[in-house]
């Protein structure tokens, strides 16, 4: 059945090639995308601009002094890393209240994100944005990253980072398009449902190993089309509908009389 499925999808070579071309391009982009600005280069000017942006875009929920409320978290002490992640991936400002704050095209440009980060970081000490070296997948140990990923991340994000369902409409997102910096910041700050993996529990080097592992998965599988790496559901649909369909079609053709 597996061999059949493999043979079947070879007939869709153009689709396969386009899919992988997209994956590879996405991977290269993610690896070489310019990393976010450093928080320690923030100036007073940045902080002031950031405050204006904050009042215009964030204060409705998080409060004029970022003090938060019963429903909305306080941003004092969340640090520049949390802002860079939430705003940089488009999760914040949130479009609508809901169980999940989904990633979407970022509303703020890089400068605005930097200014907002600088402002929030000025409210209280918190984790800062990692340096380019801290998130460089080339410097990470993929094997160690895989071991850490299996223990700490795979139960929600899937064994190769394809993402997965949580409860009540929440989900753990796919990690294939997340930039190394955002991966690092997510571990460091624990956005939304995700727990925090600070430097005490997962050292900076270990985080880089995890990033190296995640980036390595973007190359896809040596076996061919991975069908989203979602496991038995997508693979089962493929085998039962496409595979069995082809078998039944062949049987009907063999059995039918020639006209």
């Amino acid at each position: 059945m597996k061999a059949l499925a493999a043979r079947r999808h070879h007939r869709f070579t153009p689709v396969v090639i386009v899919m992988f071309a997209l994956l590879v391009v996405g991977g290269i982009y993610a690896a070489f995308a310019p990393s976010s600005a450093q928080a320690d280069t923030a100036t007073n000017q940045d902080i002031q601009e950031g405050e204006k942006l904050f009042l215009a875009n964030c204060a409705t929920c998080h409060g004029a002094n970022a003090e938060g409320s019963d429903i909305y978290p306080s941003l004092i002490g969340v640090g520049a890393a949390a802002v860079d992640f939430q705003v940089g991936t488009g999760r914040m400002p949130m479009q609508a209240s809901g169980p999940q704050a989904p990633a979407k095209p970022a509303q703020m440009n890089e400068t605005q994100t930097k200014q907002l980060s600088a402002y929030v970081a000025s409210l209280g000490p918190g984790p800062s944005i990692p340096s380019a070296e801290q998130v460089d997948p080339e410097k990470g140990d993929i094997a160690n990253g895989a071991a850490i990923f299996r223990t700490n991340c795979a139960m929600c994000h899937n064994a190769v980072g394809a993402g997965g369902a949580l409860s009540e409409g929440k989900f753990a997102p796919s990690l294939w398009e997340t930039t190394p910096t955002h991966l690092y910041e997510a571990m460091l700050t624990g956005p939304q449902s995700m727990p925090v993996f600070n430097d005490g529990t997962l050292t900076s080097e270990e985080k880089r190993d995890v990033i190296a592992f995640v980036v390595d998965q973007r190359e896809g599988s040596a076996g061919g089309l991975s069908l989203g790496s979602l496991g038995p559901v997508s693979e089962g649909v493929w085998v039962w509908i496409v595979g069995m369909g082809a078998l039944i079609g062949a049987a009907v053709w063999i059995g039918a009389k020639s006209s």
Binding site: H10, V24, V196, N198, D199, G200, G220, S258, S259
Partner: protein, 342 residues
């Protein structure tokens, strides 16, 4: 059956006669290739084309094998497999489709009837077989030679023991269930990270953190085979909550440390590692059957098939600020088994 029904059924039988007549084979329909020589020629060409496709596929497969070598990267392995697979698919499909098309369009398609023959052997064969059997019994003299008979039956009867004894014995060779009741945790044992084995300081864990924990053991112990079974029982999930979110019973107040709680990671349903922790709801989900435990409230079951709360590991800190266990779990970890409460 009532008189009326009887009459009715008789009528139906009578109206259909005793037997259906055999309708015979439907009239033979000629194919295009039978009627039109041009169509036959076309079918021949189509089959020949499919065989040629197979030949090209085979040659391509050999060429591809030498031309595209997997160079060690995932992409190159995938490309090599993909090219080879497509070429072989053409090679095999070409033969199969060509042969079937040939058979369907060009070979004789006149219907032929092959009558079934009776299953029973002829009377002579049956009589001969019984005769041979009786002669054999008489020759062996089974009725008289009791020692021979007894020893043969005993030998045959005993032989299955060579399979059954090792099988049954290895299934149940260890009936000591007390080992399920204890884990590696003991008073003063440090909590270390999984897989690095680094001790954890209470001060390093921020609110909302999750740490996957194994007991502190030496490097050699961790390389041993026994470690796998021990680790499977001893894995713990450490979570730090805001102390005001934490609901604790009076007796367990001393089991946590400043909002840090530690629970067995082995599901009480069928023993999967429970590890999907939602930081905002404090819910801990089992990935296997979606049992959900509330970490803020004694890891009690809030959803799913699990019946018991996750066992809690009592923890505290040592002089250097590292987290240590106060004791082993106070109940067996993991799913239920018969002797669990004995």
């Amino acid at each position: 059956m009532s008189e009326l029904n009887k009459n009715a059924s008789n009528d139906i039988v009578a109206s259909h006669g005793d037997k259906f007549t055999d309708p015979g084979i439907p009239a033979h329909k000629e194919r295009m290739s039978d009627k039109d020589p041009a169509a036959a020629k076309r079918a021949e060409h189509q089959s020949a084309f499919l065989f040629t496709l197979s030949i090209i596929g085979t040659i391509t497969a050999v060429v591809v094998y030498f031309a595209i070598r997997p160079e060690g990267t995932v992409t190159s392995v995938r490309n090599a497999n993909l090219a080879l697979g497509i070429a072989i698919a053409f090679a095999l499909l070409g033969i199969g489709l060509g042969a079937i098309h040939w058979a369907k369009a060009l070979m004789s398609d006149h219907e032929v009837i092959d009558e079934r023959h009776p299953i029973v052997s002829s009377d002579e064969d049956r009589a001969g077989a019984i005769e041979a059997l009786e002669a054999g019994v008489k020759d062996a003299n089974i009725g008289r030679r009791t020692v021979l008979k007894g020893s043969a039956v005993t030998a045959l009867g005993l032989f299955p023991l060579t399979i059954a004894v090792p099988l049954v014995s290895s299934v149940g060779n260890d009936w000591d269930v007390s080992k399920f009741r204890h884990t590696l945790w003991e008073k003063g044992k440090r909590l270390t990270t999984d897989p690095a084995g680094r001790p954890v300081k209470a001060s390093e864990i921020t609110v909302g953190s999750v740490v996957h924990i194994i007991p502190e053991v030496s490097e050699e112990e961790r390389a041993s085979h026994a470690w796998i079974s021990e680790k499977a029982k001893a894995v713990v999930l450490l979570v730090r909550l805001d102390p005001k979110d934490l609901k604790e019973t009076e007796e367990r107040k001393s089991w946590s440390y400043d909002g840090i709680v530690a629970y067995s990671k082995i599901c009480t349903h069928v023993g999967c590692p429970v590890a999907l922790y939602e930081q905002q709801t404090h819910h801990l989900l089992c990935p296997c059957h979606q049992s959900t435990f509330d970490v803020a409230d004694g890891a009690k079951v809030v959803f799913g098939p699990a019946k018991r709360a996750l066992p809690q590991l009592p923890i505290t800190v040592d002089d250097e600020g590292y987290l240590i266990a106060q004791d082993d779990f106070n109940e067996p970890i993991g799913p239920s088994y018969w002797e669990r409460l004995k």
